[in-house]
Amino acid sequence: MTAIAPDRDTRDSHLAEVELQRHLSTTWGSASGVWGALSNVDHKVIGRRYIVTAFVFLALGGALSLAMRLQLSQPEARFIGPDRYNQIFTMHGTNMMFLFAVPVMEAMAVYLVPLMVGTRNIAFPRLNAFSYWMFLAGGILLWVAFAIDTGPDVGWFAYVPLAGPQYGTGKRADIWAQMITFTEISALAVSLELVVTIFKQRAPGMSLNRIPLFVWSMLVTSFLVILAMPAIMIASTSLILDRLVGTHFFNPAEGGDVLLWQHLFWFFGHPEVYIIFLPAVGMVSTIVATFTQRPVFGYLAMVMALITTGVLAFGLWVHHMFVAGLPRLGESFFTASSMAIALPAGLQIFCWLATIWWGRPIFKTPFLFVLGFIFTFVIGGMTGVMVASVPFDTQVHDTYFVVAHFHYVLVGGALFPLLGAIYYWFPKFTGRMMSERLGKWVFGLIVVGFNLTFFPMHILGLQGMPRRIYTYQPEMLWGGLNMFISLSVLILTAGFLLFFIDVVRSAFHGRPAGANPWRASTLEWATPSPPPCYNFQRVPVVSDSVPLWSDGEVLSVASGLRVDRRELLVTGVVDASPEARESSPGHSVWPFWTALATTIVLIWSIFTPWAVVWGAIPVAIALTGWFWPKGTPEDES
């Protein structure tokens, strides 16, 4: 080791602001052009991409729902035939659950969590880039398959034996199963990054009891992903093996079991909806706090409710199988546990109500969406208690009652908070405010349209209309309500169109926002809008859970990180005391190549099992390139 000059002049402690910004921008900036796009590892850029892509999938899935409502508006309509309709409703469910709901929540976390915990980049930034490309590849696979009439047609849950080798003809179910692999790899990667970021990269002083509630919800969600996603990957892999290679996982004649699929799928499927719901809970907590200008009532209760929900979520899955013929006593246990999860959810609602009670509500669009959330999600929760009961469920399972229930909890419980969150954080993402006037119209149209569309479905279900039917007889007298629903969905569509118009317009013409237009309390508002590539000039130090409210205009910072290479601060898990300076990888195109190689393996393996063997070679090459030391300053660490 040669004698080196002291590195004092490359640390941020002694630099003036302008020079500090210049150094940091050079170190943390990314290249431009196509190469820059493919090699970017900045969590904000990747998070933004993720959000935009997920919303594109939302729009596509919404178009599918319009097609379904057109077909169902009249009895024995002939707009869409049974084969195409089966593909459409499968695509709608699969797209919304795997390509929109989970990725968009992960995306918001990817963007916001590093800013909220006061660090410069998310943990494992190259893995982050890889996860986006995998997500995009899975989405493209699914939609291109649909475009060429090979879209999956077995329902988003793909029950065997309908999706099995004998009755699932063609490659449709294989494409579904493999798309799952793409999106689950992507979600697992993001969850790992989030757990590490939240545990080890928090700002000094941000002990566990000072973490923002949104970050807590993302932490619990990430653990749910890590524990639940492997179940679906096993299930989808077993399905492909059954179909491609001739294994007998789900073949009763050879010792397999048809219900095994249902257990594996729903063991994932139930936590999946909490993976979608818990981030929304975090968003609601954030918005309620800001728009009542006080911290959420009962921080400890809220955190315990999050953790309890996460744990309980793994004990409910049989409520999707109440009519499959399992022993009644066992099923009744799941009635009890499914109802029990209403307790932490109720606790959270009560705490928010208490916050609003003791706060000063500001009726801006994000807060309006939270009110819409409470109104709608509680209805969904009530119908959830109803379907949790085994006998009740024997009448409403697989009917439009359940369709109404889960749309109430997913749209009301996750989408409304998400829309509110977009209105809330848009100024941070882009530096411009969204239109308050249009926002109120969006809110009104969407909430009214949603309730008019989905409430009558409760009645249809009780009147005997099953799910997943492409048409119904005229003598069933469901035509009137179906026509009403199909017309109401136009109101909902108008609301969404207005939302997209508002987003695009505001991105170019919105009123410029400052660093903290909402006078919020969390750390992401301590940096300019949009945040510079290095997030914070110096690492912030916090002394309580609402740093921007207690510290006022001046925020304490810690200094001592190097500015000539990408460096961030690693702190302890419990009390966030500084432990080490860690280098953060710079941009790299290898995640893209790895994603491409993995995509080739996965798509090829739909057609032959040898793909796993031969396709492993490009993956190995790409991974070698990824990890090969490149002599950058970050490698010296």
């Binding site: 910004q21 210049r22 940091l24 921008s25 050079t26 943390w28 900036g29 990314s30 431009s32 196509v34 796009a37 900045d42 850029v45 933004r48 935009v52 084969d83 195409r84 493209i140 939609w143 291109v144 475009a147 060429i148 009439d149 034996p161 099995g164 080798p165 004998q166 009755y167 699932g168 003809t169 063609g170 490659k171 059954d242 179909r243 491609l244 290679v245 001739g246 007998h248 789900f250 073949n251 009763p252 004649a253 050879e254 993402f429 882009t430 530096g431 411009r432 170019f508 410029p512 926002a513 660093a515 940096t527 300019p528 809008s529 949009p530 510079p532 590539c533 290095y534 057609f607 032959t608």
Partner: protein
Amino acid sequence: MLRTHKRPSNSLFWSLAIAAGVAVAAAISARKALQRLDSCTPVCDSGTKPAQTIGSASGIRTRDRLGMLTAFALCLGAAALLGYIREPLRLRQDPAVTSELEKIRLMPNGISGAPPNIDFALGQPYEGASYNLAQGKRLYSWFGCATCHGDGQGGKGPSFLDGWWLYGPEMVSIVSSIRDGRPHGMPPFKDRIPIEQIWQLAGYVQSIGAYQAKVAAPGRNDAKQTRPAENRAPASILFEPVPTLVHPDQGPNP
């Protein structure tokens, strides 16, 4: 006169390749637009005037908007084209087509010959479409083929899996065998199975004895495992050096 149109072979592969190319183009155009929201210029603005980093000459804005719109339109167009290339599932043929399907032309010895033109006009669906092969598999069990042919490994009737085809592996031979019967025990099914279903069944039988696995071939049965699944190219796995002898006079000239 029936319309004839060639279908590209490997349409699935090429359509995926085209879609991937279009998607990359779309992504690049979209990224150019998003780049304007990126604040990472060589000198990062401290945020006092965010309008400057985002707002630029209106010409660039319009161009980017047009770029995004073009990319989106291209994607839609590509998807529509792909949907057109791939013909949707036909659950039954028209009567004019089924009457044409009867017109197989056999050689005088009853083995092989030429399929009717309609088969090519439809793109040979009974050999390559997974729906038809799966229906053929159902018909195989429904019409009791297994009583003589077992699960394909033979019994009173010849095996399809030993790699030997007594009358040749072409569709017309198999269709003729099923429809008209063969000497020494194969009954004619012309009055028992409609012609379109005979073609479906023939396609399935052909896939049982295939030497190379077809992508469209059905998977294993949800039943006791007695032989490899049809998509594992069973004939090449279970090839026998001599055909299972059924009748000493069995063959082209009984």
